[in-house]
Structure formats: C-alpha cells, structure tokens
Symmetry: C3
C-alpha cells in the first residue's frame, strides 16, 4: 500500500446501483482508499446449498478495483444464511443454559458442526478461486469478530477429543481437575460434560464448582473457533499463495485467547469500540492498551484497525456522538501505536435492523455536508498527505506489560478471595500509570522473550506456567525490574494451588511469603503509607506478608490487625529488583511505584508531566523517529517540544524547547531530526 489504509466496510448489495456512483464520489472527497467487501454476503453469494451467485460480488469488486481502491475480501462465515440453519439445525449453537438456538442474529455457528465447517470452507475455496488473482485485493478477511461459545453435544465430543490429546489418560486428567474433591473422579470420557448452568456452574458463567473443567473448556472453545479460521485460511491458501489473511479481533476480549490465535494470522487487525467512560483519559489509555496488546500479538508488527465508528455506535444503552476532533485524535492514536490502516464500520448507514442507527461515513440521506463527513474527509486528507512514511514503523519499547488469558480466566472464575477483583480493572490501572508516564510499552504474553526489556510489569499473574519464574528471575538478576501484585503466583497451569508458600514460584524472587489474604467490601479501604511518606488507599484484597530479612518494605498497611505490616516490598536480586504490591492500591499508589521503577531505568517518556497528553514514538524501517503528541484533554495545554523535527500535519518546524500550544484534541506527528 502506498499510504495508510483508509476506508471500511462497504456493502453495496444493500443499495440500488444508482447509489454506487454517489458512494464513490464521496470516497474521492474523503481520500478513501480501502474497501472491505463480502462481510455477511453469504445469503446472496450462495442462495441455496447447490447454488452460487457471484453477480453482485463480481460487480462490487470490479467497480472497486476500477476505482483504484484496495480491496479487503471477506469470507462471509460470520453470519450463516437461513437455509443453512434450516437444513442443518445443529449448525446453531447450544448456549450456556443448555438451550439449542434456532436461526437468528450472527456469530452463532457451532464451531464443531461438520456441515457448517464444510460449507464455510467450500465457499472460502470458491471465493479464493474466483478472486484470488485480482491484484487490488490487498488482504483476505476470514469471518468476523470470532467469539462466544457453544455447549452442544458435538462440542462435548470435540472437547473430549481435545482432552484426550491434552491429558495422557484419566490419572492425569483427574489430577489436573482435582476430582477427588466432591467425588468427581472420571472413569470414562463420555462422563465428561461441558461446564454449563446444567452441570458445574452456579450463578452464571463465572461460578463453577470445578475451575479446571471450565478453564479447559475455555481453552478448547478458543481452539475450536480457531480451527474454523485455520480451515478457511487453508482453503484460501489453496489458490492465493501470498496475500495476507487476517480476521478482526476485539481487543481486550475475554472469551478468546488471542495468544493462541496470533501465529495463524498473517497480520493482526482489530475493531476499536472503546467502552463508554466519562473520563476521556481513561478511554484513551484503554485504547492505547488494546493497541499495544494487538501489536504484541505478533512481536510488534504493525496492525490494522479494521473497524471504528465515524461517530456513534448503536448497540449500547446510550450511544453518544464523537465530539469534534475526537475521530481525528483517536485515529492518529491508532497510527501512533502501530496501525498501518484505520478503517470504518461502515461506509453507508444500514437502512433497517439493529445497526440502522450505527454511524457511517455516509448517513441515510447520503450527505457530504455534515460535520461527521467533513471530519472523515479532513482526516483522509491528512493520511493522504503523510503517504507511506509511517508504514511498517515499530515501537522501541523497553517496558513489557504482561497479559495472560489463563490468569484472567482463572482469577475471575475463582471462588475466593474476592469477586470484586476484576482482571481488566487492575491491568488497566497499572497500564494507565505507564501511559501517563508516556513510557513506551509492549503488551506481551508470558511466553514472550523478556530479555529485551528493562521493566516487566505483571499485575494479577494468578497462574504461573512453564519456565516463566526462571526467565523473570534471570531478567532481574541481569538488572531488570519486575513488578507484580497481590493474587499472583497462586496456581499452576491446571489451576491447582502450589503446595508451597504463596506466591509459589515467585516467593524466592520476591523474598517473602503471604500468610493470609484478607478481603473486604468495596467501601472498605486500608491506607498504605509508602516509602516516600505518601499515603494511598488500598482495597478489595490485603495480603499479610512475611518478608525475608533482606527484603525492603516500601509500603505498610495502616489499619486493621495487620496495621504496620508490609503492603509493598522490594527485593534486590543481582543487578535488579523484584517488587511486590500485596494489595490493590488506588491509582495514585500504583503511579508512585511505577514511576519510581521507570525513573530508575530512565524510561519515563517525554511530556510525562503534562497530564493526559500522550507522547508516543514510532521508528520507521529507515530509522526515522516519529513522535506523536496527542492532547486527550478538553483543554488547551502549553508545554515545550521535547524534540527537533517537523510536524507532518501543520508543517511547522520545531526545535526542542519551542513552546507547544496544544489545543483540545490536538495532534502532532513530528518527524524527528
């Protein structure tokens, strides 16, 4: 591609042909260069099992290619047509309540159903065969927003097969699931049921009697859905040897372990719909985290934002419009964190059904004189102006933030100590302090090579797998800093407790043992006095820590029977340090600790003293550094340029120390000298 990908989902089949001309005229106005076509097209591509009809897609692809657009061609398996569900009722899922669904909605196919699989793969094959040679197609897009789960008998059978591969017989399986508890010893594969409201669960998907069973089912289901992607990709590869294949992820999406998926995609893309949050900076930080996660899936490679809305969503209780400048700000933030394409859902607003009020580049009346279209077009102009300069650029991070789906799952389905501890809440709290510090952060799995980092932050690393403890110890010995928190180091890969002092494999590194874990209602706080005298409230969980003699205490509880005992510790090991935060500190407490660590490694970024102004760097393949400065506040912020360079958007030539007046939602992209 010659510049940042810009465009989005385009479904001209929903409109009469005469509208198409209007569409392309508008695309020109907005410098749209990329169109995703074919998502949800199954019903017209294959009106019956024995009948295909490519008329509409042919016309769509022809026109798009003729107009010089990059095409992302989607397989339509994200939504099956009515005839399929009617003919093969078992292609519909059985839900967590044990109910077989019938036709409706989308993203609803059983991943284990052979008919659905066969039909999806056949259609992918046909599409690849027909369109595989078209040069305008820059990427293939399989399915859509994979997710959810099925609990049908076919999935039960597939789960048993998956377990047979994972466990070498019943002894290992029964040990993994600790089945001696509550008389659950399994002696025949057919005795094993998917964990649902009708078997192991009480009070919903988060409450299971046997965490091990539910955990394995989550792993299995993630893999089962992946199998569908892999099968379609293989069909495409039968005809298309090189064009990259992707699917659109959903960022911090709990049901799917994207780390199990990432190696199967040629590049990663995701849909950026941040949850509503009255705090603009929390929203910005959360998007930064998700971008970082996505970028971390494939070792720092650039990714695509496959979807974002030009203004409103529709599926929420309250769907507010994006304020003036926000679309531009968030789009450039995507690029700042590694996106090589920023696409919309959708190019033209659907007329009916549940997304008729979802925003689009073109509204129901097709106007181009609206505020939203004007902002879309202006951004297109900026992307066009920047061209290919930023493509392929990478983030030179020396801080790693660890995300681990197994820990996320295990922690949130754990009975005890405290259901009010949310993995994402704590993860985002730690990330926000890194973000406020404008530290460059890679968000990586526990299997990532840690040797390139100076600082590794691992909140709520509940489960410790493989040689992780050894690797992080090596990092610390050689001068790195490791920060982890309460509820880390509790269970092994099977979710069984380590039969040693808490925090298990980390105890030696951290130089302490946790003797008790207190929990309190959300309104109870225990002020923690930090080493520098500052006091920060802690809440939810309060670990009673017995430190080794050499371990430094960096924070102490001030209330309850453990008043005066350590809440935060630091153990010096070799050249480095291992930090432990034995409770959930409020943001200011987390920030105090993280800043101390970053400062010691000189990793606090530029403009870190300007609250809610983000400064992020990307380095292009030719070594040029680009500094993105993003004002996420609603106010003007005045500071000084940290670099010499020229701002690609305003054309202004900057020297380090020049005054920078950042208007609300302002964006700078400084090519550094």
């Amino acid at each position: 591609m010659k510049s940042i990908g810009y465009g989005g989902d385009y479904n001209p089949e929903q409109w009469p042909r005469e509208v198409w001309d209007q569409d392309y005229a508008a695309f020109e106005l907005a410098n749209i260069n990329t169109l995703t076509v074919g998502v949800f097209a199954w019903a017209h591509l294959q009106p019956a099992e024995d009948r295909y009809d490519f008329t509409m897609l042919d016309a769509t692809v022809e026109r798009a290619a003729a107009e010089g657009k990059n095409i992302v061609l989607a397989t339509p398996s994200g939504a099956m047509p009515p005839w399929l569900a009617h003919k093969y009722p078992e292609a519909c899922r059985v839900d967590f309540e044990g109910r077989r669904h019938v036709y409706g909605q989308r993203h609803n196919a059983c991943p284990s159903n052979p008919d659905f699989r066969r039909l999806a793969v056949e259609l992918a094959d046909k599409l690849a065969q027909r369109y595989g040679d078209i040069p305008a197609i820059v990427a293939w897009h399989v399915g859509n927003e994979y997710g959810g789960a099925c609990y049908c008998p076919q999935c039960a059978a597939a789960f048993r097969d998956w377990l047979k591969k994972r466990y070498d017989g019943f002894d290992r399986l029964n040990a993994a699931w600790n089945t001696t508890f509550w008389s659950h010893t399994f002696t025949d594969w057919d005795q094993i049921q998917p964990p649902t409201a009708l078997s192991e669960h009480w009070r919903g998907p988060g409450h299971t009697a046997f965490q091990g069973i539910t955990l394995d089912y989550k792993r299995f289901m993630s893999d089962a859905l992946l199998d569908g992607f892999v099968a379609e990709k293989a069909a495409i590869r039968g005809h298309v040897p090189h064009t990259p294949v992707t699917t659109n992820f959903m960022g911090l999406y709990q049901p799917i372990d994207y780390h199990r998926w990432a190696s199967h995609l040629d590049f990663v893309s995701w849909d950026n719909y941040p949850p509503e949050d009255p705090s603009a900076s929390r929203t910005a930080a959360r998007m930064a985290l998700a971008h970082g996660l996505v970028r971390g899936l494939r070792g720092g490679d650039p990714f695509w934002v496959m979807e974002q809305t030009p203004s409103v969503t529709a599926c929420r209780d309250v769907n507010s419009v994006k304020r003036p400048g926000v679309l531009r700000l968030w789009s450039w933030q995507s690029v700042a964190h590694g996106a090589d394409a920023v696409l919309y859902f959708q190019m033209r607003q659907a007329r009916g059904a549940c997304e008729k009020y979802h925003g689009a580049v073109l509204d129901h009346a097709g106007r181009t004189d609206t505020r939203v279209f004007r902002e879309v077009a202006a951004l297109g102009g900026e992307f066009h102006q920047v061209g290919d300069m930023l493509l392929g650029a990478r983030t030179p991070a020396r801080v790693a933030l660890l995300v681990d789906w197994d820990s996320w799952w295990a922690l949130e389905m754990s009975d005890g100590p405290n259901r009010n501890v949310g993995y994402i809440n704590v993860l985002t709290a730690y990330h926000r302090t890194l973000w406020q510090a404008n530290a460059l952060v890679d968000v990586v799995p526990v299997t990532a090579d840690l040797s390139g980092y100076d600082v590794v932050v691992a909140p709520l690393l509940h489960m410790v797998k493989g040689d992780f403890a050894d690797r992080v110890t090596a990092l610390v010995e050689s001068g790195g800093s490791f920060v982890t928190t309460a509820l880390s180091g509790r269970v092994d890969e099977d979710d069984n407790a380590f039969l040693v002092d808490v925090p298990g494999p980390f105890a030696a590194l951290l130089g302490l043992r946790v003797e008790e874990t207190d929990a309190q209602q959300p309104d109870v706080t225990n002020p923690v006095t930090l080493a520098d005298g500052r006091v920060s409230d802690s809440r939810h969980v309060f670990e009673v820590i017995i430190p080794d003699e050499a371990t430094e205490v960096h924070g102490t509880y001030s209330a309850d029977f453990y008043a005066g005992t350590p809440a935060v510790t630091r153990a010096r090991r070799g050249q480095g340090s291992a930090w432990y935060v034995g409770t959930l500190l409020d943001d200011d407490g987390v920030e105090a600790i993280i800043r101390t660590v970053l400062d010691e490694h000189d990793l606090t970024g530029p403009l870190a003293d300007v609250r809610d102004v983000e400064a992020v760097e990307r380095v292009s393949p030719d070594g040029t550094r680009y500094l993105f400065v993003l004002n996420h506040t609603g106010a003007t912020r005045v500071t000084r340029s940290p670099v010499d360079g020229d701002d690609l958007l305003s054309g202004r030539d900057l020297s380090a120390g020049d005054e920078l007046v950042l208007e609300p939602a302002d964006v700078l992209v400084v090519r550094c000298r």
Copy 2:
C-alpha cells in the same frame, strides 16, 4: 341502564350458599346494581370435555336477576381448567425463552391452538344459547385481560400465514426486514422463526437483531389473540343478536395494540390499577391519560371501568390501602372522563391463592362496618342519586394526543440512540402538561380524523405510516398547531429509516433537518433557554438541528459542542404552526411550550392555575354540560367557580365567581346552566 353501573366481579361459587344472602344484603346497603359473573368459571361449567354443568351459574344468574341486578356474563376462557391442559398440552404456551409451559396460572392459552379455540368457542356458544334471552344480562364479557405472547410451533406456523398475507412474496418481506444485513435473506417460509431468546433476541425481549421481525411478531400476536375474541363473539352473536360484547383492556398496555382491536368490541371497558407513584397528581394524570386512551378507541364513546380495587391490590411488592376519599375521587374521575360504569374486582375477598389479600367490597369476615365498605356504600349512594343524567355524555375535546403502538414498539426495541428513552415516560410528560392545563384531550390513533382538532400533540412519533404527514400538514395549513418531538419521523411502517433527512416526512412541515442525534447518560443535562428566557433542563437525546431560514427558534442548547444551536423550533405554515422539540425537556420545559400552544388556541381549561386540581367537562346527549372538579391534592384548595350551575353531589347552587373551598379529595359534579 338507569344509572351509572356499579358493582363488580362476583364469584359466589367460591362460597357456601348461606353466604349469598349476606352478599345481597350488603349489595343493597351499597346500591350495587351490576354483577359480573362467570369469569374463571370454566372448571365448574365444564368439569370434563364431554360434560357440562350449569347448576351453579344457573343459580347465580337466577338470583342476580331476581334481585334486580344488571348482569355481565363472562365467558371463562381467561383461565382453562386442568383437564384441558392435561389432554391438550399444546394448548399451553411456549414462552420467550422457548420453554413449553404446563398447566398453571391463567391467561396462558396458546392463541393458535385449535383445541383450545374449539373448546372456548363451544363453551361461549353453549353459554349464549342458555342465557342469551335473559333480559338482566346487559353485556357479554369475553375472556379476561388478554395479553402476553406465545412462541410455539403452532404460532410460528400462524405467523408464517400472517406474513404471507402481509407480504407479496419474499422480495417484499426481505426488503421490509432489510435482510441483506447480516445475511438474513429468507427463501422459504419454514426458515422463519418467532423472534425469541433462541433466535433474534439478545438481552431480553427489547433487544432484537431484526426489529422488523419482532415488530411483525408483535402485530401478529395482537391479531392472534384478537382472533380468539372474535371467534367467541361470533359464537355469542349466533344466539344473542343485540346485547353488547366487550372484554376488559388494561389501559397503557404495551403488548396489545388496542387500536387493532377496538372496532371488534361493542363498547370498550378497562381495568384501572394505576402503578404506584408517590406523586398523587402523576397518578391522577396517568389515569386520565388511560381513560382518554380508552375513550379514544371508539371515537369518544363512553366506556366502562370493568375493574378497580376498593382498597388494596395484592400482586405488587408493596400494596398500600387507598386513603380515605381516594376511592370516591378516582371513581368520579372515571366518570368525568367518560365512564358509564365503575365496577370492582371483587365483591367478596378470595379465601386462598394469590389474590387472597386483594381488596374487596366484603372482606374475609364479611363486615359492612369497615371504612372501606362505608366508602363503597357512600359512593353507591352518590351514583344512585345522580341516576342516568351522565350516561352517554361525551367530551368536547379540541386537542388530540396521539398514541401509536407501532411507534411505542419500534422506539423501545431500537438499538440506538438511547435505551433510557421510554415511550410512556415522554407520552405522560406531554400529557401531564395538558392535564395540568385542564385542556380537554382526546387520545387517538394516528389514523384518526384530525380535522376536528385545533392542536395535535405527537410525542415520540418514531414511525410515520400512510398519509399521516399529509393529514397533519393539512391541519397546520388550515390553522392548527402540531407539536412533535425528538426521535419522531425516523422510520417507515417496516421500521426502515427514511432515506432522506431526518425527520423524514415531517422535515418539510417542520422546516428543519436533524444532522446528529447525541445521547447522554441520565445524569447529564443540557439546559435549554426558551424563547421567553426560561431555562429548562433537557436530557437523554439531543438532536443537532439545522433549521430552514424561516423557521423560528424557540429554544437553544446552552452546553456541549452544539451550545447555541436550536433545541425547539416553530415553523409557520399557512394559518398554523408546526413545533419541534428536538430533545427531552423536563416537565417545566414541556409545560412552557404546551401552554403557549394551548393559549394561542384558547384551549387552556378552567382552574388551570390551581395546581393538581382537575376540571373536566362532559356533555350529555341533551346538550347539558357537566363540569367535574377533582382535588387530587392532600390539601384544601380555595378558588372560584368557573361556571353557573348546581353541584349534583352537595346540592349547592353555584354562580361563576363563587368561592370554592375544595377539601382534600373533594369532588364536584356541576350541572352547568
């Protein structure tokens, strides 16, 4: 009838015969003249499919007739007997969750089940044959409180038949439902499933992926239930040529479109159980709205209150007693709004089961020396004293408030912009201002002839059907005022967006287009400065309006990026005006606008300056005007009589300007001179 109908549901079959004498003695004390019998009597009328037993009903009817009471004879189809459900399990419904129910409760028969239909009609036929000639029977009452929905395979088949009639083949159906979206193109009738938690719905009945399917199912289900009524009525008409047939409606009841039903009833009746509301005036206004709706169902004809409680309900979480005087106040309010009968559920309190604590004229001990009985008897005395003077009187309203079930349904199942917008909340807010102004209001469907009105108020008219926009334009051109609100004019009869500027067919009349619709959480307000300088908060939705040049701005937003832009507009067209309120104003804002409109047409009613005192007029067939004055406050209010006349209740002779001292809950019924 010779006076206002007074009495209620009477089930002597629940009691030994010796109690009957007590009952009638008490009825005499209270001037009870009307008894509804036979509701829920199926089990003893037909103890088995092949056996009927009219002994009890014969005795009941004979006695009531002998005592000179008007009889309302009910068919018992509101609750089937156990043997029926046991023999025909498919007579029980399948619920929204897809679960087939078994025997229990009431109002639970599948409307599409042929066995239930046959048995209900046969029994109605038998009743009509046996009792059709009895002169004491003044009305027939079919079933009871029709409502709810069934989603069984029989209903699915009936739905498909209904669709075949509605749509001329799949092209029209697929267009109506916009099935190209999400690959839903239907190609066979059997592919169509009722919209349930197992098909199109997520997060409950209000959240559907395909609004068009759910909307049509609601229409179908309303019609399917109506079919049952129509079939029983036809059976009755086979033997009873003239006695009117009705069923009891439930006022502002969302599941049934009473406008689809009204023409099939000979007169309308309804059950008045207002929801608990700490505000007495809100409750009073809401009852007035419901009375108006019911009266509007058949062009302003008088109606019956078929049920109200003498004091307490039982089915609510908290069931408070009616305070002293409230029973009288509310009963006279019913008459003021057009009721020719005011009946109770129930004459004697049930001994067991779920209504054993529901209030009754006679309590478990059968006492007549209780506060409640005394109030019942005193009211009976007043009704008796007034005689037939008010029967058949009509309301000379020149204001129309529009209610549209399709808009109600479409709006509340819409994804976006804001789930916190409730149709009834906004409808009642606009109605309350009319009610506070003591304007006489007809509550009518969008198909009503508007030519007789000066003012038409249409809050949240989300869907615009047929020639409505033309008719309302004609009204305005000829001098009328039209008031509508945000979220009106959005979709056509199929719930598809109009492919023109919002608000679609109203845009020209209103002289504006809506470019964006912002939505905010309930705690966010945007103060709107009105033309007269007053400021009223707005919330939930905020439409960004681009007015035509000639359109007058009567209110502007004062916050957010659309501060200073229009929130309320007025377009002058011909002799009249079209008002648009592009946000949801708080009550004071709505009142400011509505009063302006009413005043311009001189339609503000008498005593409008006395807060929470209602003044309503009715005109009897002989042209006599009756003014009802109702003090809904807990305080004494002093004002002056707006008319010359005599108060039928106190006998006082009034001249306009005389001081009126209205005690709490006071009622005047002034026959005007």
Copy 3:
C-alpha cells in the same frame, strides 16, 4: 467422649501418604481429637456400579483409630460419582426452570430417583457392615447439607402420592388449594404439576399463583429428602445398633423444615457459616439464634457444630479472614449455647476446584507457624483443659421464641401486603432484643410444650395450626406473656384466610380486630409513640387495629390517616398478658416492648446493661452452673462479675461484684459456686 469434640473434615485421599504423618503431627499440636471421614468419598469407594474399593478408607480409619481419634464416619451420598449420573441420567435433578441437569457440582441427586436411592443405601449398608464394629467411630454422618429441590417427573409422581396420603380425595385437595379461584379444580391426579417457572410461578420461586400448591410442594420436598436420610440410617442400623446417626443441618435454612426432620436424628449437628454482616453483634446474635434453633430441634439436647471455618470461606463474593480472637470467641459461643463438639471444615486445604481458597487448619504449605494455626491450637488447648465438664449441659431457658417453617414459607410467598417483609429479618429483630437482654431463650416449634415457659414470643406467626391458639391462651391465663406481631394469625394450615376477623384464632386472646393492613415503601416510616413516651419508627406494614374496650394501648401511630390509633396493645387475660405489635417497629421499639415483658417476669439476664456482651448459662448434668461471658465488641468493656465462681480459662477466682475487664473478643467460662 472425654472432652469437647474438636477436629473436622479430613480427606486424606486427596493427598499422598507422606503428608499423613505431617497431618497427625499437627493434630497433636492442636489437641485435635475428632475426624470426620468419608464425606464425598463415593467415587473411590465405588469406582463402578459393580466394584467397591475400601483400601483408602480402611487405611484412613485404621490410622485415625490408631492415633486415638474419635471418628465420624460419613456416607458419601452428598455427591454422586460421574458413572452414576452417566448410567442413570434421571438421578440428576430437574430445576425450578424445568431443566434436567447433567452431572456436576454436588447435592444434586433427585430424591425420588430409585437408582440413586438404591445405590446410596447399598453403599451405606456396605460401610456399616465393614466399619460398624470399630469403637473409635463415635457417630455416623449421613449425606451432607441436604437441601435444594427437584421438579422432575419422578418427583411429580411422588408428590401426587404424597398428596393422596394428605388429602382424602379431590374435594379436600381442591378446598385446601382454593382451586375454584382461577378455574383450577383438579379432577385427576395426573393433572397436578410441580409448581415451577413453567406452571404456577411468575417472577421466581417466591411468586406463585397458588400458594397452597407451592406450600405443599415445599413440605413434600422436605419429606422426600428426609426419606433418603431415613433409608440410609435404616441401612446403618442394620449393622450398628447404637452409635448415633446425624447429618449436618444449615441453621436458618429456608428450604428444609428441620422440625419435620429432627426426630429422625439421634443428635443434631449443623454448619456455622454466618452471613457477612458489618455488625459484629448482629452476627453474634444471629449465630446465637441458629444455635438456639438447632438446640430446640430435639428438646434442648446438646448438639454439634459439624463445620465452621478456621478463617475464610471461599464461596462468597468477598471472603474476609476471621479477625484475631474471633475463632475462639465464636467457638466458645457455640459451646455456651449447647455444643458438645466444635469441628472444622477442613483439616487441610483442598488443592484445586471451588474450595481451594476455603480456609483450613493446615494451609497449602502445611505450615503450623501461622496465625490461624496458632489460634486453632490454642483453642484446642482450652478445650482439652476443660475436659468433659461441660458435656451434656443444658440451658435453663424460660423464654420461648417460636420458629415455624410453614409461616416462613407462607409469608414469603404471599401476594400482598408487602414483599419487603422478610421472616428472618423480623425474627432476628425480636431475637436480638432477647439476646441483648441476655435472656436464656429456647427456639422451638409451635408444637412444643409451652407450659415450661413464662414468655412466648412469636413474630410473624402468619399461619396458625392445630391447637396452638388454645395452648398459648392457656399459657397466658396461667400467668405467661405472649407477644406476637403484625401479619400473625392470618391463615390456616392450607394457607387459606380465616373467615373471621384478623388475627383469626388470636383475636379473642389479643382483644382486638385488624380492620386494614396498610403497606408502604421501605423509605416510609410512621413514628409510634410508646406507652413510656419513647418514639420508635415503624415501617413496611401498618395494621389498623380496633381494640376491645378492655385492651390497653401501648403504642400509637403518629402519622397518616390512622394517626392516633393503636399500633401496640396489651390484653390482660387471667394472670397473664397478650401483646400485639401491629407494625414492624425498628429495633429500639422492639427492645422497649421485649424488655418490659422480660422485666415483668424477672427474666432479663446478667450484664444486660453491657451492650454486645453476651452472658449465657449452661447447667451440667450434675447441676453445676456455668456462666459464659463473651465480649463481641472490638473494645474493652469493664463491668462486674454477676456470680461467684472460677473462670475455667484464666483460672481466676471470681466473686460477685469483682471488676471484670473484658478485652475485645474476651471469653470467660465461669464455673459458678
């Protein structure tokens, strides 16, 4: 036994043999003398239907016996093994929503399933045969925490059989259920369905259309579960003629009527897991109530605490640790109220599944140098020191507090007057005032012999059965005091209203009738002025009382239309008094009335003026009085000894009047002279 039983659930099968030695070493340190084994052992005792394996249990029992421990041998029917559910799917329950469950969790067997019953009984038989002669076994423990309900076709059939026995044909059944209401007359047993979400219930288990059906199903289900216990007990008795048999109850557990069960147990035991409550004294009072209930099940006999946690639970949202001293305090409270054994769940912490974070005597690391282990061991030392002195001691109470499951059920499933009235809330409110007064209280069923009591307190005695009214009248006539409340005396054993004035059979005794029952939202209060001038808020229900002439008014409403009318009355009858509290008073109001009554009978206990300090007496078989003093506050309380004696724990010699300095959580066990 030679001293208070001390120990708990021990599942060595979950651990390698080498751990066992550690276990017993730790048991020695903590004076553990009692081990419960075999709970949940089914899967290893019977790995397949035709195969038994007692190897593990043999070793466990042998070792425990060799170590000199008392053994409680459990049958494992609390959790069936996978093979059983797989082979007999109908052994799994059908839930309230009508869904058949599959294998999972525990406590999930259908009580009517013949295969489960047969297999459970066979295994109990085998266990009794094998281990019946072992002298170390001091008790047999059948199943575990019986509870829940099944609604399957087998249970439906069993319910019909139960009904056939209860009712002499359909006339009686239809009358009991008042089926004439809503056409429910049953004419065939097969028409009767379990009351579920698919039949009579709406909005969950508490909302039924026919209270009588649901009430009978609750009674039936309690009996059906009891049948399982009885059958296993019979099998044990086939081999074990004398060793007592029990099962562990759950205190104030609504689903099971323990009064229907108690006579079938040889002694009662229960599991003490008080709900989290920020108020320590409310928690303490609630435990006291539960202890009293359990002790009252078998006429005051000592009971066992079969389970409590050494520190944390795991199944709650928030699981806090027991603060220092609390374990000791609560354990001694158990003994103070009649426990002869105080056991833990569990001896060693489970490694995996849903109780891996539930507290244990030994944690995952097996440490004995933790705070929790130290407290466990110290308490064991105290119990050891006290020896057998307290065994068999009884509580010389002269106050009876009535608990009635039928009233509990009937009240909480009643439609009207107020769903916010919780039986336990009111019961505990009345109990708390008795507890604060340190009155000795027996908690007994309505069938208990009342002649031994001076005061009988019966809050919310909604249902009046048998000759209760006569017996309580006799008590009052002979000098006793009876206190009852609003909503008492409303229904007969079938939940049908009495066809006389409220409160039915109590009206004559109380000297009043209730004419109306008002209900209000929780935020509405009506201050009641008591006889002594104090004012206490009342809320939820407000009965309008018409007192007889001689009835004394002890409290009057001060608001609403019944202001100035009686809220609290006292009727003097013979030598005694009958008190009626016609509303729900706040705690201070309840306390004012209860203290008046206690004081009149000189039943206020020692130290009643020291808030939240409990003083309880037990009298050993040899007539020695023991006074337990328990400081439930977090503060030091200074008072004076009410008795002469020696404190068994500190060894201090006390004379009446000596200063007592009670530290937080302090415990005294004074052997009185």
